[in-house]
Amino acid sequence: LEEPLIFEIGSTDVTGVDLEDAPAHASRLGGLTREAAIGLPGLAEGEAVRHYTRLSRQNYGIDLGFFPLGSCTMKHNPRLNEKMARLPGFADVHPLQPQDSVQGALELIHSLAEWLKTLTNMPAVAMTPKAGAHGELCGMLAIRAAHEAKGDARAVVLVPESAHGTNPATAAFCGYSVESIPANARGRVDTDALLARLGPDVAAVMITNPNTCGLFEPDLKRIADAVNAAGAYVYCDGANFNAIVGRVRPGDLGVDAMHINLHKTFSTPHGGGGPGSGPVVFSEALAPFAPLPFVVEQEGRFHLVEEESASAEDHGQSFGRLSAFHGQMGMFVRALAYILSHGADGLRQVSEDAVLNANYLLRSLDDLMTAPFGGTGPCMHEALFDDSFLKDTGLTTIDMAKALIDEGFHPMTMYFPLVVHGAMLIEPTETESKARLDQFITAMRAIATAATNGEGERFATAPHYAPRSRLDETRAARQPVLSWQG
């Protein structure tokens, strides 16, 4: 059943709240009263609950089933974490309360920071970035600040062609020019090409490990040493940290900065597109440039270092502030709950199971579907396929994805990474059971078999059993309707 828009069912005369009557008082607005109608419809509480409940049922979430979206780490979101984030002592605290009144909140930030540093074997962490891309920005600004402090302006950032789009976008956003480094035939960065490009104009290399093909970059340490020797820094995109968390410490691989998507590796829910949180760990070289504010512990008391003490030497080289306030507290609480629940042993098991699940999928499908780097050895947390096996079938990656919807699964990531044609990137995560994977394998094999046997014409118009059939995206972009005009 279709659910109308609130503008079609609500009324500006209806409200779903009751408020005390405002005591009579002379206005202090200086006559700037809003008089024209605004056009905001209201609904009584019951109708509002219905509207959003019914809308929710047109969505697919992890809570409904397998969600193997590559690069997104769609793992189970523990409900304890939701409960903890709603404790009034965390959720109902103002960021500018006196520090004595928020010692527990500061302790939590500090405690999570310590975990992140230990898990990565990195000496410093910036907690304020609000998402992965914001973390990248934080890392790149620290790199710019470090070069600037040395009086060594460098203009170029090297980015492998397999990188997430955010990497070049971020580098450009903070004023760098971006050069692309090709991948080799094994799906890794071409180390020789990269090393050859190093020079006095190169400020940094941005690299993802495990990379966007779901493969570990075995040369990273060697690259990092060379980059550092050339006076540049290594930024590691930590989007895929889940594959190695608890098992490999990026600090041991020589990286200078890496963001950690708390909403991926540490399971704060994606919420239909956010909020995220992207703390950045730093090497000794970059630590002095970390942004304000940050938390320090002194004899059991926690202190939030803000601008007011900007002249103090402990952060004299900080590159400044990234946003108002102190970061995504709600995500910190969830992440710490996740981390304490797993512990060092559990996190190691997380990476092992995530990697095992991906390899199990890879080896259960690579006889039917083409795995471009399947021959190079095990994958990490993602199994990558391409569309070679669809050649001459008339079907595409998108048809495979939409066909999966009809089987009750969320599709894998399509057409990314760009280094292979018609990519299908499958990330199962560690919270999927073998039974669930076997279900998916069965469905996937049936689809792939039908496709290659010429019985897949129905996939071209899939999904058939979803709330909507394929949507006209071209029309949406050509004649944008971005708000209700009725």
Partner: protein, 456 residues
Amino acid sequence: MRYLPLTPDDRAAMLAKVGAASIDDLFVDVPAGARLAGPIPGLPNHQPEMLVERELTRMAAKNMAAGAYPFFLGAGAYRHHVPASVDHLIQRGEFLTSYTPYQPEIAQGTLQYLFEFQTQVARLLGMEVANASMYDGSTAMTEAIFMARRITKRPKTVISCGVHPQYLRAAETLCHFTGDELVMGVPTICCTPPTEDLADVIAQIDDQTSAVIVQNPDCFGHVADLTELAAACHAKGALLIVVVTEVVSLGLIKSPGEMGADIVVGEGQSLGVGLQFGGPHLGLFACNSKHVRQMPGRLCGETVDADGRRGFVLTLSTREQHIRREKATSNICTNSGLMSLAFSIHMTLLGEKGLRQLAALNHARACETAERVSAIPGVKLLTERFFNEFAVQLPVPARAAVRDMAEMGVLGGVSAERLWPDLPDLANVLLITATETVSPADIDALVRALTEVVSK
């Protein structure tokens, strides 16, 4: 491990299928120097849910939760009562555990509420188009500076002294590296009345000016008519960017759009989201249609499906990083999806009627608080025209006053020094906010506490 469903038997069977003798075989690409034989040293092992809950509850209990005390803080984050149904609904698993709606056929729930949200935000701010949310108000403001530069191709942005200083710091940080020029007003006690400041701002506008940024109500609570400023901007070919940190004010005061703003950015945490110790909050971003292709962030648009039914999709994504890479309008990827849902539900519960009542109640509470507080000997009201927030001059340093009041169990405001540590002139200025959550008894408690601390 309660979250990990694989059993030892499963693992053995799967390793066999994979052809690996042990899990270590799957990590062969990790260089020897980075291999760890066991769990990372120096960290505890997994814990039962009960003990994790106990530990986090212990930390939470060390904080003064706003709801348990008379509470008068604002300055960019406002405490409002959020109906219980909001939090109930955003926890629907289908909302909570979904991803960015890249597969619109099974994401119409998210897409439709984003479309509704965009419409609500655009109307609230008085603009034609709003995006599907940003991280928060401060990062939205920085994005607005860059967006204006893309439109005007000019280097300079003039910023009023009434803009939240942490917003300013965030913009400064980035502009330092991008080369965008910022001309910033410096607040003083005497400059704070908005008309004088706006005159200063207008005087700064020249043909290199890309945009003027002004906050309304500003960080001292001042409410200003921006119509003249808008005209002055447009006369010089500059854009007017208006920052709104307290969206509830828009139930009572004229919207930025009605006063001529070209871009409006805002912080939406007042509705649905709560204080959250500063995050996650909710960035609002709106402009007029002609500039939409220079707008950062995600947009949801209406279309039809193959069967002709109305549906919604993410659109104009050629602006975005995952398509355009280094040529994107912004590097932003994640938005504040769940917070925009909370905002939208709260707004739907309020409706226009409720929003107007809520704004009126806020204003009344603030007026009463201002009257009572300014009657305390030695305390002077600095903000004449305000919505729910105002500044007062104390006879003592405000920072100590805030601390002392907290010890007396009253969260009595924000000292201006906390926000402008470099401006000693403001050391005695206290920012006080009163929303509908403030009871008459709370006002009494504030007056008692403030009377005591100023007479020390």
